[in-house]
């Protein structure tokens, strides 16, 4: 009898505190990968979200309520991410979900958010179809804060034309990869629209090792090129750079975020000096310096980019939208996120969402360059000089 009443009281207390807590807390879900091969980014992502939430709460919270991050591990695995989404929506009643980072996993989980009428903001899913349907219309509740693959092609074309003064470009791309083909096409569209000329567009098939035939063709062409655009992965880019220099091609190289691995320099050696590439984020970005110090002070280690900064952008986007909507109702919140114009987030001072695609609108990319065998930050660039 005595025991029973204690348990009843405990349950009552728990229920009351739960009900009370529900009243002044806004839950935001984090669908992140905390174990498995992507965990180094996922853990950074969660750390950054907690830090950002604490900061928002110290400054008075949102609509007078405190933000609480509720996280579950998705192991970067599509079925797991679907279960995590279901749990966040059905059991935790979150206002919005931040994550998933991987395109394929995001696409799998997105359906649950759509059915549960809960906005989901992907951190780094760069596949164009993460937020839109095949016919080009956006999913109502799917958003992202990273740029999409084709956007990098645009950034690269603008950077090459405006900043490097390139007028004639050649392209070597991997015809077996969606990523590479998108980047190549968008580079060409934007570069020619600016008034540049494409001298050669050469394709190879994934797994190729010898590019001297196509590079020889580029070298033998009557026009000297000012830039060689190589939107591939690091392995091919390193080999292409090395073989191009061997053949005496002197133009600078440029690539996408796929080349951003130290393997590029291992494979390409000296030939990769001055290799430019577009990237999602860089620790040397002055916009991040203050945040980076806080992160280091709190966790004693460097964040693993780009996921944590993207997650903070996503949280700030959600918080801003909740303020404008005045509610955490999913439908109103999704509308408010869609209407986001020129707000301040971590990586930029004017962040907007494109209502037609649910992608960020002209969010700056980071330009990196290889210097003395290391990646260096050049600038943040949104396409205008």
């Amino acid at each position: 009898m005595y025991k029973k009443s204690i348990i009843t009281i405990l349950f009552l207390m728990l229920f009351c505190s739960f009900a009370l807590a529900q009243g002044d807390i806004i839950k935001i879900g984090a669908n992140v990968s905390l174990t498995g091969p992507s965990s180094m980014w996922g853990i950074s992502e969660l750390n950054a979200l907690r830090m950002a939430a604490d900061k928002i709460n110290e400054e008075g919270g949102v609509l007078g309520k405190k933000i609480e991050i509720v996280e579950y591990d998705n192991r970067a695995n599509p079925p797991e991410a679907v279960i995590v989404n279901q749990r966040l929506i059905d059991r935790d009643n979150v206002a919005a979900i931040i994550g998933v980072a991987q395109s394929g996993t995001f696409i799998a989980a997105r359906t649950v958010a759509e059915d549960g009428k809960t906005p989901q903001i992907g951190t780094t899913p760069t596949n164009p179809f993460a937020t839109i349907r095949e016919d080009g219309t956006p999913f109502k509740y799917a958003f992202r804060v990273c740029f999409i693959d084709p956007f990098q092609g645009k950034i690269a074309a603008n950077f090459a034309f405006n900043e490097l003064g390139a007028k004639n470009a050649s392209i070597v791309y991997d015809v077996g990869s969606d990523y590479s083909s998108w980047l190549a096409d968008y580079f060409i569209d934007n570069f020619t629209a600016l008034g540049g000329k494409i001298i050669n567009k050469e394709a190879f098939r994934s797994g190729e090792l010898d590019f001297r035939a196509i590079l020889g063709k580029i070298k033998a062409s009557s026009v000297n090129i000012d830039i060689l655009y190589i939107p591939t992965m690091q392995k091919e880019a390193g080999l292409i750079a090395k073989q191009a220099r061997e053949l005496g091609i002197k133009a600078p190289f440029m690539g996408g975020d796929g080349v951003g691995s130290p393997d590029l320099m291992t494979i390409g050696g000296d030939a990769t000096e001055g290799f430019y590439f577009t990237n999602l984020a860089d620790l040397a970005d002055p916009m991040l310096s203050e945040w980076l110090e806080e992160y280091r002070a709190r966790y004693g280690t460097d964040p693993v980019l780009p996921n944590p900064v993207m997650a903070v952008d996503a949280l700030l986007l959600v918080v801003d939208a909740i303020k404008r909507a005045g509610t955490t109702d999913g439908e109103a919140l999704a509308k408010a996120i869609e209407d986001t114009r020129n707000i301040k987030v971590l990586t930029t001072d004017n962040f907007s969402i494109d209502p037609a695609t649910h992608n960020p609108f002209d969010k700056p990319a980071v330009i990196n360059v290889v210097k003395d065998g290391k990646f260096e930050y050049v600038m943040s660039y949104s396409g205008e000089s």
């Binding site: 015809v175 050469e202 394709a203 190879f204 098939r205 797994g207 190729e208 090792l209 010898d210 001297r212 035939a213 196509i214 020889g216 063709k217 070298k219 033998a220 392995k235 390193g238 080999l239 220099r245 061997e246 053949l247 005496g248 393997d263 291992t266 494979i267 390409g268 050696g269 000296d270």
Partner: protein, 290 residues
């Protein structure tokens, strides 16, 4: 432009030729395609990297040490995997499948022990290329071209003038008669595998130097295998000429048509040649290979 294409084609072709010779040697005597040769080339690239880059032995000395090591590994491979099959007169299909198994096993062994990282050889030549008649020739190409030619000549002299070479040629002509004449067939095959291992080591080092070192690099030997088939499996001069033909045609197709259809051309050519000459260009008669 055409000269440049030709030079590049010869450079690529010489690597194919060097790799094709290893296939050719084994095929000529055992009548099966040793698909583990590609994996042996990959091991050669790693061993060469170890000596040349980590231990820091001069490049040409590294090649020799690597060639000996892969030669020994190739003999061990034969002893462990092929001999018992051979002694039980298994059809050559079984040997081919065993060879594929070894190739996959070695590749995964490297994945699990060394990992999937890429490695690059240190720079061996101070200058990377030469300019001749407005076309650029990579120094590595010149070296691999001459090393191929020298290896081929040495092999030819060895097979024609040494006792072991004579035994190998006799074994190729008629294995049973050679055994009956008192030649130890197992020793003979060991020698053939040692030679093919030497070629695997040399081509592995040149492949690693030319491109990079990674576990899957053995797959490029598919092309070398095609070169050997074009030339006529089992014919040494055929393997060399097949390698050069394939290298040049691939380059010409890449430059003048498109690099995307390059493999369509090289494989169509393989089918066409086999339709017209089922034994390849130089695979004359079974008894007179080599």
């Amino acid at each position: 432009m055409f000269l440049q294409t030709l030079v590049t084609g010869l450079g690529i072709g010489s690597i194919y030729a060097l790799m094709a010779m290893g296939y050719c040697l084994v095929f000529s005597i055992l009548n099966f395609s040793n698909f583990a040769h590609g994996a042996m080339i990959m091991i050669g690239a790693y061993v060469g990297y170890l000596f040349c880059s980590i231990i820091g032995i001069p490049f040409f000395l590294s090649i020799i040490i690597t060639a000996v090591i892969t030669g020994i590994l190739s003999v061990i491979n034969e002893r462990l995997a092929y001999r018992s099959l051979r002694e039980r007169n298994a059809p050559s299909l079984y040997l081919i499948i065993t060879a594929m198994g070894i190739s996959i096993m070695l590749e995964n062994l490297v994945y699990s022990t060394i990992g999937s990282n890429f490695y690059a050889y240190p720079r061996v030549f101070s200058k990377n290329y030469l300019e001749i008649f407005s076309s650029t020739i990579g120094l590595i190409d010149i070296y691999s071209f001459f090393v191929s030619i020298i290896c081929i000549i040495l092999l030819h002299l060895f097979l024609n003038n040494s006792k072991i070479g004579m035994a190998i040629r006799a074994g190729v002509a008629d294995p049973i008669a050679t055994s009956l004449m008192g030649a130890n067939f197992n020793v003979l095959i060991r020698n053939v595998f040692f030679l093919s291992g030497i070629f695997a080591g040399i081509s592995g080092v040149f492949m690693g130097l030319r491109y990079m070192v990674y576990p899957q690099m053995g797959w490029i030997t598919n092309k070398a295998y095609i070169a050997a088939v074009i030339g006529g499996l089992g014919s040494l001069p055929g393997a060399i000429i097949g390698g050069f033909i394939l290298g040049i045609i691939e380059t010409i197709v890449s430059v003048y048509i498109s690099s995307v259809v390059r493999d369509v051309f090289s494989f169509s050519m393989l089918i066409l040649i086999l339709l017209l000459k089922p034994l390849g260009l130089f695979g004359i008669k079974y008894e007179e290979k080599m």
